[in-house]
Structures are given as structure tokens and as C-alpha cells.
């Protein structure tokens, strides 16, 4: 057999081409370039005059021309290559390379060619397309493809199929990556990934914004370097890496290049398909905007309402709508006159301090601060979020506002400032709620008659009084909590009939309030009576409180009077906080302020103050309660510990006046001689001992004179 050099060269070229395919086809990054390269090289190596590549359309039965070479494309495009018909169907059925005489194939007759060789492209076992080469060239003219060509094109098609599958996979991976990147870039959560070595290899746009620096500053750097200012974040990462567990932290404040950011952060170990650790995913949710939104909202409504609105915006109706709400008005009584005695800064400070305290209570009971009008507050319950407990919440708010004011005023009184006194009015009814205003300024508010009436009730309320309308009382679920007193109906501007009103007081103002009040008075005096008072201090006050309880029970006073006695005992020397001079009078002023704010009636306040004033030496009790407190105040002079207690009194007096031993004995003698117990109990229990003490002192005086 003789083989020509040219034939050998052609075989060599074929082998080289095949090797080229093997080496180079996987270097293509997109399908069109790959297919064109396959086609062109196939034509070249097989001496085909033209060719094209068909690929299945995943959505139809039609195969599309994905590459063509050296062929008039117009007639080619007019052929429908249906995988269920014609030569495509035939070759798919055969499943291997086929040489065709086009003259005998009706389907390909539009192509200006005589011969074809068609090699299937396969993905796994499925035929997904064909390489079609046309008209084998020779110097003698065109010829049909032979078995050798068939082997060659089959080998090329096999390589091409692999390369095509690879590139399809690559394209899918790139699409998935692109999709993933797009998702990552568009989500509001910051996502950072690290590799096994802790180096950051991905940062999305949100994370970039949170980190407050361009992502190129972080990529490739170890997280320890990137987050060096945030030990808590690094520790969390280390914990996640060590335990290979999900870790998270809420409301973590981080410092990213000078910008403090609060985030919710989580760390998840990144595992490969063999469950091996290959890095960590850090997800962070920037709470700054949420915080801003919350802080803006929280100026007007409670945190709970803000959270509810943020969870479900549908709850929020800012458009105009009619709804039933409870409106509370409160204002400071005589603030104008009060402010005239203050410098402007003090007026502002006073109002701000007062509002801070009151608004805290308002939000505690889900009230919406509608307006601050000078020294007045307008609060709405039941809007913008409807609340079935709006009336109850308004009453609880009013009661607690009064209680807060007591402590607030204590501080003011200690600092020599005038106490703040308020009245409260509450009404319930239909209002129009929504954003009301102009396009330049729009505020959420409620308007309507019910609002006006609430304001009128506030004006009608005396200092320390909570006045409510019938509609509030009718809608109050926990009526048992309050003492409710019907008042004379009031005439209101714009209303033809007088409006029925009630005054309410929380029942806890009986026992629970007394106990709380006693605790507060004890704490106040413990902290504020100067330590130089050896006698007039908290120990004496507590001794008097114990004594009134003892005498009260012995004298069989009512349970309520026993509480009044204790209250007076706690207050009888409170004036020492400011000065021993006229301390009873000062104590009465304080008692009036505090008790008024707590809703005590004037009669009761006068009763308490009567007891306080009765203890002024010389004692002047006018009724049993005053007699009891007077005896309790000087209980010690008829008791065994007289010497010890009087010694404390001497110590206190000696700070201002130098008193000799004999002078002190004479003072005591005169005091004891002039003193008398007023109650039967004290007379029975203390007189004998007091007289004995008097004798002892008299003896000491005589002994002193005998010595001298």
C-alpha cells in the first residue's frame, strides 16, 4: 500500500487539530465562540466547504442554528429543524455520525450543497445538537464524506460535546453567581464572607455602607485587621469558627472607621459539600435607620406602638378617619405667675424636666403625645393604633402622673424651688384622626368636640384633681381600681346642657399609697435631714410613728385615722430638712403640696397639718388625734431610755449653744414640770415614770447646789 506524503500531512493535520481541540476547547468562556471555533476547525480539517451547528432549544422542539461557516445563511434559516421530524429525528434515532447525500434528502434541499456529514453533540446520553459539514472538497471537485471523515468528526463532536457541557456548566455557574451577586447587592442585610484563613473574600454593597469604607479596603484582609476596633465582633467570629456554630448578637454597637453603628449581627460557618469548614458568613442588619425612625416616632408614641407599627404597617392609619379615642389634657396651674419669678433658662429647664417625667408615664400606657401647648400636654389613647383599653390607660396615666409629680416636687422643694401643680381632664368620644396640616407642615393629630371637652375638663379640675366625663367612666373596665365621685355638672362653652363630670382617685390611695408615701417620706428624710441633728433625725421620726400606732390603737381610733396619724408623724419634723426654725410651718407647706398632688382633700390636709402644728412646743392639741401625736412626740420622757434620748437632744442643742450640766438639768426640770400627757393611755403608762425622772433630775440639781 502506497501512502502519499500529502495524505500523511493531512492525517498529521487531523491529529494536530484534534489535539488542539483537546487542549483549547476548554479555554472558551462563552458558547457562541466555542461553537464557531468547533465549526471552523472541523471544516478546515475535514476539507468541508461549509458547515453549521444546530442546538436544541430547551423550550421548543426546534433546533436553532448556533454557528455557521461559509454558507448563505438566508436559505438555511428558512429550514425548520424539528427534532421530531425529518433528518434531525432520523439521526437522533440512529444516535451516531451520518453521511448524507443531500440530493436525496428533501429536508435539506434548500441548502446549496451536495453532501453532508452530520455528527451528534451529546450531553450525557442525550443528543442536544449536531455539527453539520457540507461538501468535502478536493481538487477534482466536491465529494461525499467517507468513513475516515466520520471517525474524525465523531471524535471532534465528542470533544466538542464535553467542551460545550463544560461551558454550559460554567455559564450556569456564572448565572448563578451573577444572580447571587445581584441578590446580595440588593438586599438590605450586610453580608461579608471570609475564607478558611479568615480573609475577607466577599462584601456586598450594604456591608460596604455599614463598614463605612470602600470594599477594596477589606477584600483579602484578615477580619482581625478589618474589625480591630470591634473586639465583641471578633470574639463572636472566633466563637462561631471554634464551635462551627451559628452565633448572633442583637443591638451590638460597632465602630466602623469613626462611625458608630448599631447592628444585629450573626455568624454562620460556611461548609462545603463534605461539611468541611471553608469560611464564615457574617450577616449584619444596620439598625441606625431603624433607630432614627424609632427615635423620631418615639417622640410622639411609645416604643411598643413604634414596634407594632414597624412590624405591621397596615395597623397604621394616617389618613383621616373617624374613631373613638380617649383624650387627656393636663396643665400646670399658675405656671405663668410661677415663671415670672424665674429666669428664662429656669422656665425652660422646669418645663423640660416636668415633660420628661410626664411623657415617660404617657408612653408607659401607650399614649400618643399629640401636642405640647405651652405648659399643657394633650395625649391621645387609642390612636393611631386602636386600643380597647384606651380609657383605662388614660386613667392609669393620670394617676401615675400625679404620683411622679410628688417625687418631682420633692426635688424642687429641696432645692428651694416652687412645686409644680397640675390638674387633669379626660374625655372619650369620636374624633377625626389623621395627618392634618399643609403640604409644608403636617402632623398627626385628632380633632373634634371630644377634644375640646377634654380641654374644658382639664380647666375645671382643681390642683391634684382628675376630672373625667361619663363616657370615660362608662368605658373604664377596671372601675374597681378607683374611687369615683360624681361632681356638679359643669356648663361648657358651645354645649347647651351642663356636662356630667366625675372626680376619680385610685383606690391604692388608701392603703397602698399610704405605705408607698411613708416609704417615700422615710427615704426623703433619711437622705435630707442634716446629719448634725442627733435627736431630730429619722430615728426620732420612726419612734414617733411607732408611738402613734401604739397610742392610736390603745385610744381605739379608726383604721383611717391611724393612717392619718402615721402620715402626720412622718411629716411632723420634716421641716428640719430646710430649717429648725418654724419647722412645723415648713412641714405643713410641704405636706399641703405633696398631699394635694396625691389627691388628698383639703379637709384631710388640714387634719394632717393640725397634727403637725400641735406638736409645736408648747404643745396645743385640740382633738384626740392631735393629743395622740403630741404624746407620741414626747413619749420618751416617760420611758426608761429617757437619759439616752435626752442626751442626744443635748448633743444637738450643744452644737449651737454651750450648755452647762446644771443648766441642762434645770431646762429638763422646767420642761418636765410644765409638760403633761394628754391621752388616757399616756397618762396611765408614762406619768409615773416621768415623775420618777423628774425626781431624779431634781435630786441631781439639789446635789449640785449642795456640792457648790
Amino acid at each position: 500500500m502506497e501512502i502519499s506524503i500529502e495524505a500523511l500531512q493531512v492525517k498529521y493535520l487531523e491529529l494536530e487539530t484534534l489535539l488542539d481541540f483537546t487542549n483549547n476547547l476548554n479555554s472558551f468562556e462563552n458558547t457562541p465562540d466555542l461553537l464557531q471555533e468547533i465549526l471552523v476547525k472541523s471544516c478546515g480539517v475535514l476539507n468541508a466547504s461549509a458547515g453549521f451547528i444546530l442546538l436544541e432549544d430547551s423550550n421548543t422542539d426546534i433546533l436553532n442554528i448556533e454557528a455557521h461557516f461559509n454558507i448563505n445563511i438566508t436559505p438555511l434559516r428558512s429550514i425548520i429543524f424539528n427534532k421530531k421530524k425529518g433528518f434531525v429525528y432520523d439521526i437522533k434515532s440512529i444516535g451516531k455520525t451520518v453521511c448524507l447525500d443531500i440530493d436525496t434528502n428533501v429536508h435539506l434541499s434548500k441548502i446549496n450543497a451536495k453532501y453532508a456529514i452530520i455528527a451528534p453533540l451529546q450531553q450525557k446520553k442525550d443528543i442536544i445538537g449536531f455539527i453539520v459539514l457540507l461538501d468535502k472538497e478536493s481538487r477534482k471537485g466536491l465529494s461525499a464524506f467517507d468513513d475516515s471523515d466520520s471517525s474524525m468528526i465523531s471524535a471532534i463532536a465528542s470533544q466538542a460535546s464535553t467542551a460545550y457541557s463544560n461551558i454550559q456548566l460554567l455559564e450556569k455557574i456564572q448565572q448563578a453567581k451573577s444572580f447571587n451577586d445581584n441578590v446580595m447587592e440588593s438586599i438590605a442585610t450586610g453580608v461579608i464572607t471570609t475564607n478558611l484563613f479568615g480573609e475577607i473574600n466577599h462584601i456586598n454593597l450594604t456591608a460596604e455602607k455599614i463598614l463605612n469604607k470602600d470594599r477594596t479596603s477589606f477584600i483579602g484582609h484578615h477580619y482581625g485587621f478589618v474589625f480591630d476596633q470591634n473586639e465583641s465582633l471578633i470574639n463572636l467570629l472566633l466563637e462561631s469558627e471554634t464551635a462551627l456554630e451559628f452565633k448572633s448578637e442583637s443591638n451590638l454597637t460597632l465602630d466602623f472607621h469613626g462611625k458608630k453603628t448599631t447592628v444585629n449581627i450573626s455568624m454562620s460557618p460556611l461548609l462545603n459539600d463534605q461539611q468541611q469548614h471553608i469560611g464564615t458568613v457574617i450577616a449584619m442588619e444596620d439598625l441606625s435607620n431603624l433607630d432614627k425612625l424609632k427615635s423620631t416616632f418615639q417622640k410622639y408614641v411609645s416604643k411598643q406602638i413604634v414596634d407594632q407599627i414597624l412590624i405591621n404597617e397596615d395597623l397604621l392609619n394616617l389618613g383621616g378617619q373617624e374613631q373613638e379615642v380617649t383624650i387627656l389634657f393636663t396643665d400646670i396651674r399658675g405656671f405663668t405667675a410661677m415663671s415670672e419669678k424665674m429666669v428664662p433658662n429656669e422656665v425652660v429647664d422646669t418645663l423640660n424636666d416636668y415633660f420628661n417625667q410626664m411623657i415617660e408615664v404617657i408612653f408607659k400606657y401607650n399614649g400618643t403625645l399629640d401636642k405640647i401647648i405651652g405648659d399643657a400636654l394633650m395625649v391621645v389613647f387609642g390612636a393611631p393604633l386602636p386600643d380597647t383599653n384606651d380609657a383605662d390607660n388614660a386613667l392609669l396615666t393620670a394617676v401615675e402622673m400625679q404620683e411622679k409629680l410628688v417625687a418631682f416636687n420633692q426635688n424642687r422643694i429641696i432645692n428651694g424651688k416652687l412645686p409644680v401643680e397640675i390638674g387633669i381632664g379626660i374625655n372619650r368620644g369620636k374624633v377625626i384622626s389623621g395627618n392634618i396640616g399643609s403640604s409644608q407642615q403636617m402632623n398627626y393629630t385628632v380633632i373634634g368636640d371630644a377634644v375640646n371637652l377634654a380641654s374644658r375638663l382639664c380647666s375645671a379640675a382643681k390642683v391634684g384633681e382628675i376630672i373625667i366625663s361619663n363616657s370615660v367612666w362608662e368605658n373604664t373596665k377596671e372601675k374597681k381600681k378607683y374611687n369615683c365621685q360624681k361632681l356638679t355638672p359643669i356648663k361648657v362653652k358651645g354645649k347647651s346642657k351642663p356636662i356630667a363630670i366625675r372626680s376619680i382617685q385610685h383606690k391604692k390611695n388608701t392603703e397602698i399609697t399610704y405605705l408607698a408615701l411613708f416609704e417615700m417620706l422615710e427615704s426623703f428624710q433619711t437622705n435630707n435631714i442634716p446629719s448634725s441633728y442627733s435627736y431630730h433625725n429619722i430615728h426620732h421620726i420612726k419612734a414617733v410613728v411607732d408611738a402613734v400606732k401604739f397610742y392610736g390603737k390603745k385610744e381605739q381610733v379608726s383604721k383611717q385615722d391611724l393612717l392619718y396619724l402615721q402620715l402626720a408623724a412622718w411629716l411632723h419634723d420634716i421641716g428640719f430638712v430646710w430649717s429648725p426654725v418654724d419647722h412645723e410651718k415648713k412641714g405643713c407647706e410641704y405636706a399641703k403640696t405633696i398631699l394635694t398632688q396625691l389627691g388628698f382633700s383639703i379637709d384631710i390636709i388640714e387634719k394632717i397639718n393640725g397634727m403637725i402644728m400641735a406638736t409645736k412646743i408648747p404643745q396645743s392639741p385640740k382633738n384626740l388625734l392631735e393629743k395622740i401625736i403630741c404624746d407620741a412626740d414626747l413619749d420618751y420622757i416617760g420611758k426608761d431610755n429617757y437619759a439616752e434620748i435626752s442626751g442626744l437632744l443635748l448633743e444637738e442643742i450643744s452644737l449651737k449653744n454651750d450648755i452647762s450640766e446644771i443648766d441642762w438639768l434645770i431646762i429638763q426640770k422646767k420642761f418636765l414640770e410644765s409638760h403633761t400627757y394628754f391621752t388616757k393611755t399616756a397618762k396611765q403608762l408614762r406619768t409615773k415614770n416621768k415623775n420618777k425622772i423628774l425626781v431624779d433630775i431634781t435630786n441631781k440639781i439639789e446635789a449640785y447646789h449642795g456640792r457648790s
Binding site: L13, V40, C43, G44, N47, A48, N70, E137, R139
Partner: protein
């Protein structure tokens, strides 16, 4: 069927044929015809600029060998430049580089001619 195109220019007695498309039987024949025509007019030096030819088959190469044989008869010569790597490789394998010159650029080709 073929979309093979040529442009011919003469520079310093060198005929430069610029090709575009598949240098196969048809393309090769066009080149052959141009060369014979110009040889008959007295030209002896031919350069083929293969910038627009990305693929060549063995038939195209064998036609070029025929052109070389004709030129050898009149002591003429043929050269090529601006070849795609696959074309250059094919020329080497088919032995074309033994009988004709391969250049990188027109300047280097003209300098040799």
C-alpha cells in the same frame, strides 16, 4: 456558497493579495487565478495578506503549492503575512513553509522581497 473575497495591490513590483474568508478550494482557486493572471503580466513576487482568513483547509494549501510550482518555473516567489496561529500551523504541517516565506508583518515581508 463561498464568501471569499480578495483585494489586490502592487507595491514595489510586489503583488499583494489580501484575502478574507475560508481559504478552501474556492478561495484557493481565486488566489491561484489572480497569481497566474499577474504572472502572465510579468509579476514575479507575490505576498498574501491573510489578515481576514481565519481558517484554511488542505485543498486551499494544495492550491497554494500549485501557485508556488508555477512561480518556481519563472523564478518568482510567494510569501504570506498576518497569519492566524492555526493557519500558520497548517502551513507548517502541510510543508508550505519549506517553499515559501512566512512573515509577521507587511513591512518585514516587503523588506525581504
Amino acid at each position: 456558497m463561498s464568501d471569499f473575497k480578495t483585494q489586490v495591490k502592487e507595491l514595489n513590483e510586489v503583488i499583494i493579495i489580501e484575502t478574507e474568508g475560508y481559504l478552501n478550494n474556492e478561495g484557493g482557486q481565486k488566489v491561484y487565478d489572480i497569481c497566474i493572471e499577474r504572472m502572465n503580466l510579468g509579476s514575479r513576487k507575490f505576498l498574501i495578506n491573510l489578515t481576514g482568513t481565519k481558517v484554511v483547509n488542505s485543498i486551499g494549501v494544495s492550491i497554494l503549492i500549485e501557485v508556488i510550482e508555477k512561480l518556481q518555473e519563472v523564478e518568482g516567489k510567494l510569501g504570506y503575512y498576518n497569519m492566524a496561529p492555526i493557519v500558520e500551523k497548517t502551513f507548517h504541517i502541510m510543508g508550505l513553509s519549506k517553499y515559501s516565506s512566512l512573515f509577521k508583518t507587511e513591512e518585514s515581508a516587503l523588506a525581504e522581497f
